[in-house]
Subunit: 665 residues, 3 copies
């Protein structure tokens, strides 16, 4: 579309007074060119069953159109009206903690027929009303949809039916899941126990996968409703979010992003991240790489990110610019703030928008205005960036569920994402940009290096394809516990790391916790933090592989910790514990990291260099300083689009500064 | 009444054997002159429905009267009999955790009609039985009453009806509370959702306020029953308690003390506090100042305080005396221990009374006997102390609810009380005694200084009255987040600190967390702990005010942290973060603290000087040593009532020692 | 039986493929001579109600018998089939957290008639099927049985009936339990409130005791079913486990081991313990001493202990041997691993067996094979060890419940066991082996020293018997809070430590927390860690006793902390706080510890020496090195059975090494 969108979520409904004209004037001043409206406003649209009001929708659409600001319509279903919850008590989702009470958003049962019937009515009614409005550039279905830990009766019945289809008879299921254990056998489908209280991780992970499948189906169903009215030039999207640790952290456990994105014409994501002294750009990069990945490499929208946000996020001067351009550096074509104005009542009063509660221009708004101007001015150079990598990292919801079902002692929360981010962050700090993938297959030959962290559960075929990738000349860095169980989370009965033993040339049958152990370099000299061993410790015995490091431990010192194996024309490094980022960097360098196309700079964090090629074929490199000190840049030569000056040799980026250097590729 | 009461709670019901004569002999030996009986003994009074037994009541009343010991009758309703709970299962309170099971006290639904009907019967029956007994000096209704987090069906219906009366229609409520947000609109009263699960703090705070109103009504209802039989010389009181942190800490969130005390002829309070090495007298002073405040300045009863209490409270030699006189120093006219004997079974077995489980005289009892003797001997000098202050601190249940609904990240528990106590304690340590008030109005002109911590939610009129107080010559020290929202907890849409911007001459629209920031003195030199900034950090811009301190921070260093503004004939200091006690002391000094009448000594903690005028017009100063080291006293001249010796110049208080110095005013 | 059993739990049911022949071959190679089967396999035995399958049972029995491996049959009741839970929803246990959902084991209501009826049918059916098989050497009833915090309707009704029988009328109960307090009186049995929500510890502890009684009855009922078919040479046992802290820690709160073991012909126990750097042998010794104690001193089975276990337990080379022989050193005649193979699905996937998931020989299995060979070779010397001690430690489930109901502030979890283990571990570290007893009576005269930690609740008669034991010449080391309450957890109204004041010659009525206090030696010089005072601090006044130590504290320094009293021909030391292990060792030495027969070595931990006499009358001493460094052994002379060499003088044990020295007694 050769355009950069700079936007905000806008809620005319929430305004304490009529602000529309003033707001639009301030938006125009800041070069805001898109607003998202209507998501989460069901009770305003339909205050009583069957009674519809389009007052806010109509006036915003008209006013925005008049001002040249594009509009995204969100379907309003992710927060339900009080009347709906009262009339159909079954709509409130039942989770392992019991049925939820009305109040929060995102606590409905998305497979409940009453909910779906009413959702369909309000969606169809809204779409019919707005579909011809010229302001609308596209639709967002629902918002940050998840399954909300739904274990209600409808979900349960659907799951059991799905298992019947999957296994045919209960015997096959008993075998796959090992249900003989602790008398958990099921010999009649009607005896199927509550999935949420099972102690069988095979059953629990199958249920978790099925819950994600319901999210995929729900979003596809909404997208299909939109598709009935959508013009070809309009998009349909969903605003995907990530594992939340007070900010966007890792792979989303409750949605299969790759599957759910299929029904969308473009991916959108929520990216919230630490700021101030804690701003690193890692979440911006990770979220963007995931967003590209879910649609197989295209551009994406940052549908929500923070303007001021929480008190701990209010950006330092310069950081809002740094953040905005960091999004573009990963391939975003929209940066949209949640939200325009700070809300005066309720849950997100302290999740501040671009404007504070007083609606006046403030330092953050004024900085946004410079971004808007730059977006408009530089869109021809910056829009539709093509990001191409020869490094990928393999993630898997199934591996996550299984890994986390059997977390090492002393590990808290979503340990899988801890591991994934350990590998991801090391590459980020090395300025090696990556694709995030959920499969290794024929098309993976385009990668020189694939990182495979914590691939705990995987079907045989995927492991064989990984072997084939290496055999054909690929390089792989494979993390501990990979290959351990099959797709039913049944531990393999062969030697570990299972089928991957072949490409890795290593085996083990025992593992311990580090408890004071470290690494001792062998073929690879190691020092400092690179010698740390965390979380897990497989007692590896090479079978053909070279030992890069042993454990440094009085009793386990003869076991290998890191091995390297030539397999076919490729190489696989296997790591039996959670390595420090410094060791990951060392291993990636050993696997040819310096020569990768993905490596955008020989420098490293806090100087971050990311980018790609623009439609004109120019190389665009975003030079981003994630620190409060000036940083010298070397090896980046070209014209800085922001200043218009040529740069080259050894030049300086100011604190929290950004430069966008174009050059011929 | 020109009398000091020294008392105990007495439970003949709980005695493992008949001890009455022995107990009374020991009480007389200790000059115990009042006992409280009957509260919490419903099941003994009415072991089966409609079957009444006054055995214990009668014999205790008669025996005490014969011994010249006065009796307070407590209505027995704060713990219900098992038969009542079984017969009317709805009486057990429903809280957000569900309906409570029988066992503990204070878990009944105080708006349940069945409970109220039975409570009325037992109260009327008891009162009719005892009303003419000459031993009785007054009545206590219920005990430590609160709403017990009641969100049961009756409470809920009453709340909705009250909101109907308050708002008239749902639209007004939707606007006031911002219910459009997240589709929370209510367009039909029957759709009103469960208040306990709302994410709308406006609704939640309105519900909390209503729950407190039910406590007020319940206590007034019991007081009215008492008033039907009460003689004019008898009092009716309620034993109010405080926010509990294992001891009496701060403003009680579940009762509006000021409103509830109106139905009482005198206020009583529970004061439990750390002891041994941790005894500071702060809770004694705070609880006493609150107790005076709730009845607009009069004397009060300490209806419960610890004798031995928990193992961690067993007083050091001397501390029981220090505590007793500390109560008098704040205006108490009764010090009554909970309780006489230590209880041999159940929950409070380790909440020991004056006697241990063996009923023998012990060191604590023997020290009490010296207190009783002193109380009797010195009552003419010490009773009915008039405590007058020219400093006040403004507290508000509504501000508390609202502040705590939006606690700064990293803050735990009742943060409002953390802030209030930070201000209160600094004054206490400076020997500046205060009134605790819940309004600023015309009568506030008697204060030279008002401290206003964390007044997060307040109606416009109160803020205007604060402005007027300053304009007319008052001095105010106003803490962060004051003025931020209106009485519906809707954030004001004007510049912050809202209406208080006028008297403070300062504005802000952004705030962050300190995260390493400190304060840097400007017009006011600052050093040491006074430079600490905690909890919150408003980025202040003066609009007329002088900057007393800036933030010491690489990015926010140009924003003010503490400002001072002349407004009319007065001065307002505004502090944008949670200040250290040392800064509060510095600011109070700057506002003329040295010259305040409330400042009773130029010395400070651990030497505490508090007091007032006695009915004879003498100045009575309690000199209290809250340390295990002797403390020199200066500037206190007069006669020490305890020793009969004159003191003056520079004299010594022994460890944990007390002197009561009378002088002409 | 002159035999040592070396075994594994074996689950043919859980095998992913037919492994029986291979497994038996590997077992024989390792000299495994017993397997336990069938426990927890109800759903395989009876996949649908009334439909029985003995496939796995039959083939394992036959194959084991053919291989000369003995079999223990477990009744399968501790995990129920899904069909049973679905058909009788009441079978799922109701705990204070509500009714449990199907999934885990050990969540049935063991007093539910439906459960009992179906349990009886499956037990009888299984027994009838297998009873004549020659492989079977005995039966285990259920497994690790407990009451599962059952407070369901049946349990409650049974409890009330039992209280009716105990007290006759409610008045006696009201008095014993002090129910007048907080209106908790019960004047009609039908008003009996839910025991699980009571705040009356007398009631709560009576309920806890009753719950244990139900376990005793349940196990006796199963044993009676077994006894109907059991041959005289077959045993019936139950696998008892201990308070669990991630490993077997202390006295089991939910079973009265002494009472429940009466229905068994031999005691079996579960012993899991820290390993690797954290292996001390303490849990092995404690669990073994308890196991001997429950049957009054005989040999016992270690029915379950870890082979590889968790990742943090995988044994260092040598540790599996050290562990196995440590069990024998306490009198075990069976060491059986849970379990043979590691399980591929479900909850205990990471609780690894002797084999890893790949079924291949691994270092742990190979070490086990050496143990099996030694067991076989040395059984004539090592089986049926007679362990005789002149030191005992008194434990009590009733004291535990009561002590923990009134835990000192700051104490978490099962504080009673913390105290018991403090005393136990000090003796263990001194190589003083002990009997664990639950009564002091005429037969206690065989002990020279009895340790009595935390005997908080006890009937008068027991305390009188303790006095009599001392009077007759015994020595006692009595810990704080002993004697404090009666068997109804009513605090005694006499001077403390109650009836024990007589033998201890000391009294107190006040107690505090240490909060910085230490001990100051008086008649006994103290230094270093022996001066520590923890948890509790009774302010002791000697009445005839000598003061061994005072408190070191500015205010409480005149009170005694440790006293010693001659009483009759014996001596009692009383300690008013939780002493450090070093003080316990000092006090035990003072009480003649060096001369005790139980003292097996003048050396101490990590060199552990334990043992007894074998049937041939030889003295067998296990010398166990619980450290990663070699340890010199002195004072142990004889022939090392493992090497066949004579040892004597000063000789070395290797890291984690073991020697078994036989000599004439």
């Amino acid at each position: 579309m050769s355009k950069l969108y700079y936007g905000v979520a806008y809620y005319d409904e929430y305004m304490p007074a009529d602000r529309l004209a003033q707001d639009i004037a301030m938006m125009r001043e800041a070069n805001i060119n898109v607003v998202r409206i209507a998501e989460s406003t069901w009770s305003t649209l339909e205050p009583r069953e069957g009674e519809y009001h389009f007052f806010h929708i109509d006036r915003v659409l008209d006013a925005m159109h008049a001002a040249g600001i594009a509009v995204i319509i969100g379907t309003p279903t992710y927060a339900i009206p009080a009347w709906l919850a009262r009339k159909y008590p079954g709509i409130m989702v039942t989770t392992p903690e019991g049925q939820q009470k009305y109040g929060r958003r995102q606590i409905m049962d998305i497979v409940n027929p009453d909910f779906l019937r009413h959702a369909e009515i309000i969606i169809r009614t809204l779409l019919a009303h707005v579909k011809d409005h010229p302001a609308i550039i596209g639709y967002q279905v629902d918002n940050e949809t998840k399954h909300y830990d739904n274990c209600g009766p409808v979900m349960r019945e659907k799951f059991i039916r799905h298992m019947q289809e999957t296994f045919g008879d209960t015997d096959a299921m008993n075998r796959a899941w090992g249900l003989d254990y602790w008398s958990n056998r099921i010999d009649d489908w009607q005896d199927f126990p509550p999935p949420e209280s099972t102690i069988n991780a095979s059953l629990a992970c199958a249920f978790s996968r099925f819950q994600r499948r319901c999210v995929t189906e729900y979003l596809a169903w909404q997208a299909a409703l939109v598709n009935e009215v959508r013009r070809p030039d309009q998009f349909v999207t969903q605003n995907f979010d990530f594992e939340w640790r007070g900010y966007s952290y890792g792979v989303q456990p409750r949605v299969d992003h790759f599957a759910a994105a299929r029904a969308m014409t473009i991916a959108s994501v929520d990216i919230y991240h630490p700021s101030q002294r804690h701003l690193t750009g890692k979440e911006i990069a990770f979220g963007g790489d995931m967003a590209r990945g879910m649609k197989g490499g295209g551009n994406y929208f940052v549908m929500e990110t923070q303007a001021q946000g929480f008190a701990q996020w209010t950006p330092f001067p310069g950081q809002l610019r740094l953040q905005a351009f960091s999004h573009l550096a990963s391939g975003a074509v929209m940066v949209s703030y949640w939200h325009w104005h700070s809300i005066h009542n309720s849950f997100e009063t302290y999740w501040k928008g671009l404007l504070s509660h007083d609606f006046a221009a403030n330092p953050t708004y004024r900085e946004a205005a410079t971004i808007g101007a730059d977006f408009r001015r530089l869109a021809p150079h910056l829009a539709d960036l093509r990001v191409t990598n020869d490094v990928a990292i393999l993630v898997s919801n199934e591996a996550m569920d299984a890994f986390n079902a059997f977390k090492p002692q002393g590990t808290e929360g979503n340990a899988y994402n801890d591991v994934v981010r350990r590998f991801y962050d090391a590459l980020y700090e090395e300025n090696i940009s990556v694709d995030i993938i959920n499969d290794v297959n024929d098309s993976s030959a385009r990668y020189k290096l694939i990182l495979i962290p914590a691939l705990y559960a995987a079907e045989d075929a995927l492991l064989h394809r990984i072997n084939a990738y290496v055999e054909a000349g690929g390089k792989a860095l494979i993390g501990f516990r990979s290959g351990f169980s099959d797709e039913h989370v049944k531990v393999r009965t062969c030697v570990q790391p299972g089928i991957l033993s072949r490409c890795c040339g290593v085996r083990y049958s025992q593992f311990v916790l580090p408890d004071g152990a470290a690494l001792r370099g062998a073929a690879l000299p190691l020092a400092g933090s690179a010698t740390q061993a965390e979380m897990w410790m497989e007692l590896l015995t090479p079978e053909g592989a070279d030992v890069l490091a042993y454990y440094d431990h009085p009793e386990w010192g003869s076991y290998a910790a890191v091995t390297e194996n030539r397999y076919g024309r490729g190489t696989a490094i296997y790591v039996g514990c959670l390595p420090h980022g410094d060791l990951i960097k060392t291993l990636v360098r050993r696997l040819g990291g310096e020569a990768l196309c993905s490596r955008q700079s020989a420098q490293g964090f806090p100087l971050v260099v990311r980018g790609g090629l623009n439609p004109a074929g120019e190389r665009v490199r975003y030079c981003l300083n994630f620190s409060g000190e000036p940083q010298a840049v070397t090896g980046v030569t070209g014209r800085d689009l922001l200043t218009g000056h040529d740069v080259g040799g050894n030049w300086d980026l100011p604190p929290w500064g950004v430069a966008i250097v174009v050059s011929q590729p």
